[in-house]
Symmetry: C2
Subunit: 214 residues, 2 copies
C-alpha cells in the first residue's frame, strides 16, 4: 500500500523480527496513540539510556509531552536530542500447546525523532489534558501565567515510526496440533473505567467524567 497513511520506515524503524506483525498504515499508528494514556520516552543521559514514562497527547502527525521547567527530564535533558517513544497496549496472553509459542497480544507503536520545545505551550498542554481527561480543559480552571511559566512542552514528529500488532490465538507447530494433547487459546486483557471517586466536593459529577468509558 502506498498512500499518505503509509508509515515511512527508515532502517531503524523497519521491523526486523516478527515482520508478519508489522503494520504499515499511519491510521493504525494514530489509533494506538489515541488509545494509550502513557508513553515511554527514551533519551541518552550521561552516556546511558534513560526512560521517562509520561502522559502525552496527539495533534495530527505529532505528539506533545510536558514537564516542569525545573525538571532534569525536560529542556536540558531533552531539547534537540534524539529520542525514542513507545506506546504499548497489552490486549491479552496467548496459551500455545508448546511453551515456545506462548505469546502476548498487543498493539505497539515505536517513534524515532528529535525532541523540540513546542512553540505554543498552552496548545500543547490542552492537547495533553484533552487526551488524558477529555472535556477537562474547558471545565477546570485554565492555567495561570505562573503555572504556564512552570511548564515546558515538547513536540515530537511522528514521521519515523513503526507499528506492530498481534491478535488472536497461538501459532503452533503442526506436530503439536496433530498430537492434540493440551488446551490452547488466548485470554483477553480488558481495561475499563471504574466509578468516579469525588474529592472533597458537593458538586455533581459532570457529564465529561460520568460519560467516560460508556
Amino acid at each position: 500500500m502506498t498512500s499518505d497513511l503509509q508509515l515511512s520506515p527508515t532502517p531503524r524503524s523497519t521491523v526486523v523480527r516478527g515482520k508478519k506483525r508489522a503494520v504499515e498504515d499511519r491510521q493504525v499508528l494514530y489509533d494506538i496513540l489515541d488509545a494509550g494514556l502513557v508513553c515511554h520516552l527514551a533519551v541518552e543521559v550521561d552516556g546511558a539510556p534513560f526512560l521517562i514514562p509520561t502522559a502525552y497527547g496527539r495533534d495530527g502527525n505529532r505528539i506533545f509531552l510536558h514537564g516542569s521547567t525545573g525538571s532534569r527530564s525536560i529542556r536540558s535533558m531533552l531539547e534537540g536530542k534524539q529520542v525514542c517513544v513507545a506506546v504499548t497496549l497489552v490486549d491479552g496472553v496467548v496459551y500455545s500447546r508448546s511453551v515456545f509459542h506462548h505469546s502476548m497480544n498487543y498493539r505497539s507503536a515505536i517513534i524515532h525523532g528529535t525532541a523540540k520545545i513546542a512553540e505554543d505551550t498552552q496548545h500543547a498542554l490542552r492537547t495533553i489534558v484533552e487526551h488524558v481527561t477529555p472535556g477537562s480543559w474547558d471545565y477546570a480552571r485554565e492555567p495561570s501565567k505562573k503555572e504556564l511559566a512552570q511548564t515546558a512542552a515538547l513536540e515530537i514528529d511522528l514521521t519515523e515510526a513503526s507499528v506492530k500488532v498481534r491478535e488472536g490465538g497461538p501459532g503452533e507447530e503442526p506436530s503439536d496440533l496433530e498430537a492434540n494433547l493440551v488446551w490452547a487459546g488466548h485470554m483477553p486483557l480488558i481495561t475499563s473505567w471504574g466509578a468516579p471517586v469525588p474529592h472533597e466536593t458537593d458538586k455533581a459529577i459532570p457529564p465529561h467524567v460520568s460519560a467516560r468509558g460508556r
Copy 2:
C-alpha cells in the same frame, strides 16, 4: 528506613521531580514488577536511543528478558550494554479543579543496569513463561533443543532502581478548594481478564487458565 528492602539510589536513580511520590522499599519494586506484563527496555543503538517493549519475569533481585538469537534486539544489540528498563502500571486519571493539577495515578519502576546473557536459558524462559502465563511451563510441551537454541535470554540486576507511586485524588491550590467552583476527584482504571478463547481444541480449559484473575 534502612534495611535490605531499601532501594539504593545512585544519582541517576534518585527521583528529582515528584519526591513525595518516591518510594524507597524494595518490596514495592518487586510488587510492581510482579503485577506488570510488559516492560520497556531502552538501549543505545547507532548513537540513538532504541526502545523494545517485551515480556519479562522476575527471579529474586533480577529480571529475565528473551528474544530470538537472530534478532537485532538481543545479543549483538544488548549484551554488555547499559540498559534502562521501565514497568509502568496506570491506575487511573485525576481530575483537579485546575487544569494544572490534573494528573494520573500510577505505579512506576525504573531499573538501570547492564544486560548480560543469562547462564541458564531454560530457567530464564521458565521464569518469563510462569510470569506471563502462570502454570503453563508444566502444562504445555517443553522447549526442544532446537527451540532453546533459537532463544537468547538476558538477565538484568535490580539493584539500581527507583520507584514512584501516585494514588488518590488531586492536589489542589487552596484558592481553588475555597472557591469550590467545579467537581474534582479521580477515576480508577481497572484491568481484568476476559473469558478464555479456545483455539482449535476439544480439550477442557485447564485450571491454571480458568482460575486466572479470580
